[in-house]
């Protein structure tokens, strides 16, 4: 067998194999697809028809409407749903015995977590591409320039991974995928509204919800900003309560929360599933 293996190719990367399997599971699950892609698209279309005729005076020159300012919230809503998706995926692995089955193979939890997160990352990229295609391609949403839009893309991916980290934390405590989905909904729906990501919310409470920071950075970069250098050096995030947090401060919060959720999620999940 060893000789055959060298002849036929090298051993595949286990994290990569796991991520491919996980991604196949995601894209073949019609219900999950509807939930993670169908809903954001539906909201985007509704918001477009409601807000695209309302002109607003933004800091950037040129004609802008309320939907241009609302679209970043749609992106954050879509990527934030990875919290549900990851919670369901990891809770399902726990419940259906696949995690235990993998524990009898020479795989290691490291490969499972890396593979799982890779799958979530690929999925969030797919999600953002579709949303960008819909928003910037079809609905003609305003953006500063292509470079800033690409940076916005990266911000959205980071927020998606952060949401997946939170999903892993919830999966650690959930006894079933249904419970995991319930936990995720209990967090995500209040968070997305209380953060002002979907509809503007005038309250300092918004600072306590991760979607707020992702949306403000995305908005600042793609709609409000001048250029990245100016944003990093002088701009403050256009917060509703006028506190002077620079863009890099917001970025730091976003990245710190991402690492924290992932680290806590993996640690708790490991602890709860090791017997």
């Amino acid at each position: 067998m060893t000789q055959d293996r060298t002849k036929e190719g090298k051993a595949p990367n286990k994290a990569f194999v796991f991520s491919v399997m996980s991604l196949k599971q995601k894209v073949r699950n019609a219900q999950a697809l509807f939930y993670t892609l169908g809903f954001p698209i539906m909201f985007t279309v509704i918001f477009y028809f409601v807000f695209s005729n309302m002109e607003v005076q933004g800091p950037s020159p040129g004609p802008q409407n309320a939907f241009d300012y609302g679209f970043p919230g749609m992106i954050i809503y879509a990527t934030g749903l990875l919290c549900n998706s990851a919670a369901i995926f990891f809770a399902n692995g726990k419940k259906n015995g696949m995690l235990e089955r993998l524990d009898t193979m020479p795989v290691g939890r490291k490969n499972i977590f890396i593979g799982g997160l890779l799958a979530e990352t690929w999925f969030v990229i797919l999600q953002i591409l579709i949303m960008f295609g819909l928003g910037y391609g079809i609905m003609n949403v305003y953006y500063k320039d292509v470079g800033m839009m690409l940076i916005g893309f990266v911000i959205a991916v980071v927020f998606g991974i952060q949401s997946a980290g939170l999903g892993i934390i919830l999966a650690a405590y959930a006894k079933s995928p249904e419970a995991a989905n319930g936990f995720a909904m209990m967090y995500f729906m209040p968070a997305i509204f209380a953060s002002g990501a979907l509809v503007p919310f005038e309250s300092p409470i918004v600072y306590f919800f991760p979607p707020y920071w992702a949306k403000q950075i995305f908005l600042q970069i793609t709609v409000d900003g001048d250029n990245l250098e100016a944003l990093m050096k002088s701009s403050s995030l256009a917060t509703s309560t006028e506190i002077g947090i620079p863009l890099w401060g917001g970025l730091l919060i976003l990245i710190a929360l991402t690492f924290a959720f992932l680290a806590i999620g993996i640690a708790i999940f490991q602890k709860k599933t090791s017997v």
Partner: protein, 331 residues
């Protein structure tokens, strides 16, 4: 001299020539429940070892410990010369585990499921696909290109088994591999397991099906309430703990056992009379047809109107279990 490599909390176990799995003092408690309570056993290389016991006896917990999923509370084991507590990753490379529950990815096809497991064992993708196709043919699930969620229960269980065997493991754990299968599918799996024995792999089979344990196993350990209560070859166990031929009489009403016993025990070849509930009495006796007829005459002719059914059978592992515990396997 063998080196002592498996030692934990004053329990030590050593590799032995010809022994693939050597377990000493293995314990696992879940709060107050003693799931596995100090088990010692040895499985020889290339043998099919049956672990027989009722539901909740501790079979699956044993398997989960030996397959490195659960950490034992006490005791240890040497598996293929490797220490269960210290060399878990190396041990996993040798194992093929078929869990009791059907653990497959329902949104993948049969070939994708099996190929996935092969890749996780480090087999390159082209080889993995070839091996998957071959194995699925052997288990009569080749050619299904649709997703596993559309499969029947029997097909899912066979796929579950294929996922345990795709990498030609040296040691195979089969945890109730035929649970829920129809008789035809069960026969197919039995034949397949018999063929597996010929590959030289060591197989540990857990079951609560006495017939399955009897027909497949080279060696059997009977486990009850977390303890091994008997071990040996199936025939040895039946001879040692069985009580000869058995006449099972089912009465229409609960019989007066003392009266039945009194009559039957006048016959010298009667070894035991047991009330097993549900108006049934088991009469064990030695000898042949003559004694069988005599037992019938003495035991039930007078009560023939109260008899619903009579059956005769030879000793089974069920009788061994009954003898050892006073209970039936399925109780």
């Amino acid at each position: 001299m063998a080196q002592s490599i498996g030692a934990y909390n004053n329990v030590s176990v050593e590799p032995k020539e010809g022994v693939e799995i050597n377990v000493r003092g293995l314990k696992k408690y879940f709060k107050e429940i003693k799931a596995v309570d100090g088990v010692d056993l040895q499985v020889k290389k290339g043998e099919l070892f049956g672990l027989l016991g009722p539901n909740g006896a501790g079979k699956s917990t044993m398997i989960r410990m030996l397959t490195t999923v659960l950490t034992p509370d006490a005791g240890t084991a040497i598996i293929a010369g490797l220490d269960l507590r210290k060399q878990r990753v190396e041990i996993r490379k040798l194992l093929g585990v078929c869990p009791q529950e059907i653990v497959i990815v329902e949104t993948l096809t049969a070939e994708e499921n099996v190929t996935f497991v092969a890749q996780m064992h480090g087999i390159p993708t082209p080889l993995a696909k070839q091996a998957a196709s071959r194995l699925l043919s052997q288990l009569n699930i080749a050619g299904r290109k649709d997703r596993a969620k559309n499969f029947s229960g029997g097909m899912k269980r066979r796929l579950n088994l294929a996922m345990a065997l795709i990498h030609n493991p040296k040691i195979i754990f089969l945890d109730e591999p035929t649970a829920g299968l129809d008789p035809q599918a069960r026969r197919l799996v039995w034949d397949f397991i018999r063929d597996l024995k010929n590959t030289g792999s060591t197989i540990i089979l857990t079951t609560h099906d006495m017939v399955e344990a009897d027909v497949l196993s080279d060696h059997i350990a009977i486990i009850d309430q977390g303890k091994i209560i008997a071990q040996g070859k199936p025939q040895e166990l039946k001879e040692k703990f069985g009580t000869g031929n058995i006449l099972e009489i089912q009465f229409l009403h609960q019989p007066d056992l003392d009266v039945v016993k009194e009559k039957l025990q006048t016959l010298p070849f009667i070894t035991k009379v047991s009330d097993v509930g549900e108006q049934r009495v088991l009469v064990s006796f030695s000898g042949g047809l003559k004694n069988f007829v005599a037992t019938l005459q003495q035991g039930i002719v007078e009560h023939i109107n109260e008899v619903e059914n009579i059956s005769f059978r030879q000793n089974t592992l069920e009788d061994v279990f009954l003898h050892l515990t006073g209970r039936r396997l399925r109780e």
